[in-house]
Amino acid sequence: MNWLEMIVKLIGAIAVIDLMAVLLAGTHSFSNLANGKNRTVRHVLLGVTGGLFGIYATMAGYAMPSGAQISIRDVGALIGGALGGPIGGLIAGFMAAFFRLFYPFVTAGLNGTHVESFSSAILTGTTIPCAISTLIIGVASGFLHEKFKKAKHRGAWGCLMGFVAEVFHLTLAFAYLCIPIESIGRVGGAAYAWGALKELIIPFLLSNAFAFGILIYVFDKMRDYSKTETHAKQVEGELNVATSIQNSMLPQIFPDFPGRKEFEIFASMAPAKEVGGDFYDFFFVDEDHFVFLIADVSGKGVPAALFMVIAKTLIKNNLQSGLPIGEALNRTNQQLLEGDEQRMFVTAWVGLLKLSTGELSYVNCGHNPPLLSRKGLPFAFVKDRSGFVLAGSKKTQYKVFETKLNPGDRLFLYTDGITEAMNKDNAQYGEERLLNFATSYPEGNKPAEVIADLSKDVKAFVGEAVQSDVMTMLSLHFNGSYEMTKLPVKDGTFDSLSAFLEESCAKRGVPMKEANAAAVILDEIYSNIAKYSKANEVTFGVFAEDGLLSLRFVYGGELFDITKAKEPDVHAPLEERGVGGLGLYMVKKMSDSLTYEVKRGLNVVTVDKRYPKGEKHE
């Protein structure tokens, strides 16, 4: 006999069957069925698979000169039984056994030889004991299924099962060969049987034991892998949801405050691979007080994201409840500490800007120093520290710093995702690079451009390295304040407002032409308010900075959108004309924009008009 041929054939069969098992286990539709809820479907499927493996193994077997077949067919039966229970074992065992029984005809057919008679073909060699043992192995292993399912080290157990099964198989074959059968000229007896089987005992035992052991081992690995993969996908999906929820919690619409000329703001958060705890926020406490902040929760992942949500909510609630900024953060600190079992903390920089004056109060809770540029001067870090991080210590009492923003002043807030952005040489972007970028940056650019351009610069620096941390930034430009006056709606008020407007325009260098247009606008809108609104008081504001003149009227009474007033027909013959709506028509024509809003139950009308800068007010 040819040992080499036998080994090559057997190893080939083992390889093919194990490979098929890996492919099937790795195929989603198969593994969904094989691990699925419907037990019968699962068992039948595994039984048929085992049966097909058994058929293949029989064909890939090696025929001994004695007519005995050496193959790993029983592995097919074991697959059906051990994995698919009694049903699977029966199906696999029957399929493989049935095929084995008629295999002599198959080979004869394939070789073109003639099968003399049915009985001699069946009786020759070990066809009968081989078929029977395969069927019994299938069914018997099926009854071990429940135990096997819960076993640890199933690969080793599989090996043992394969070994035991083949001992049984060989014993049966040995017993069968001992029987003398005259019709095919077999003498029988132990000596004959031993002679026929002795050479194949060891390869038979080893090949089947290993084939099944390896198959089970690989099968389990694949199943674990596909479970982990599914789990990983779920986690990733949940993180994506967390990131988008987190993003949707941050103010997204810019410009957020139409009619607000005092400042421009833009902020962005570029999430890294995983969800983080960065956030920014901005909101009005009342008409005149605007809060903007940036913060960074320690750590990453869902815990940080949840802590971020809590911190953001607490800061906003405490500030909007009217607490002074220092108190609001002291309280936030205490509240965060109450529930902080994870020992997380938050660094934050919170600014409260009084728009009518430019006064800025701020608290820095252990956050990176923002950059501030006074109009015409380079940026510098604002290094004041108010106290420890939020949720750091119960003893912290935050110190509030005060400054005044003037028209043209710019503030830039960021998190350490910017300064600690790393390139592939592990160098950090750093404060110095940030300062250099800011210093050489054009003064006239809008906050959104600042953020877009800095993002580009950081990304160019990082290059191909993975963005490790969330990059969050906020840019605020202060344009100046409305000069405000509040007067009752009565005779004489118009003259006061008119004088107020004239003085304001003169002081801020608005050219005569636009100042006169503003006077017409004031007259038209105030007349309208006095005539129709039934308001008792009017607050009038004048803003004039950087080529933009803006008038604002805030008043009570009836809520009516004056921009919806009917327009007059200015081309009708004079005799047919009334003057209704003419005043508001003139306002629209003379201004660049006329907007109406209702805020806190009051009418708010804002009229903007651009003027050329640098001309003298004569």
Partner: protein, 99 residues
Amino acid sequence: MTTQIVAEGDAIRLVVEGSVNSQTAETFEKALLPLVKEGKKVVVDFAGVDYLSSAGLRVLLEASNTVAKPEDLKLIHVSKDVKDVFDMTGFSDLLNIED
């Protein structure tokens, strides 16, 4: 706003100075309408007017509707800003304006 009446032959010149707005329109109306109603030729001198709002336009509209012959009411020395208001409201087509 102040108004001053200056006789010029058979015509009357009404010199207006200041702002013609909702507060001053009544004064302007009281000075202009009687002259128009008397059938006088009226020349309104706008040289001293810095701005004019819709209240002023209303007075001019009424005067224009009252006057017997269109050429009897004339506006002179209208500044560019005020002319702009007349243009945008369509009043420049209807009023007799001399630069």
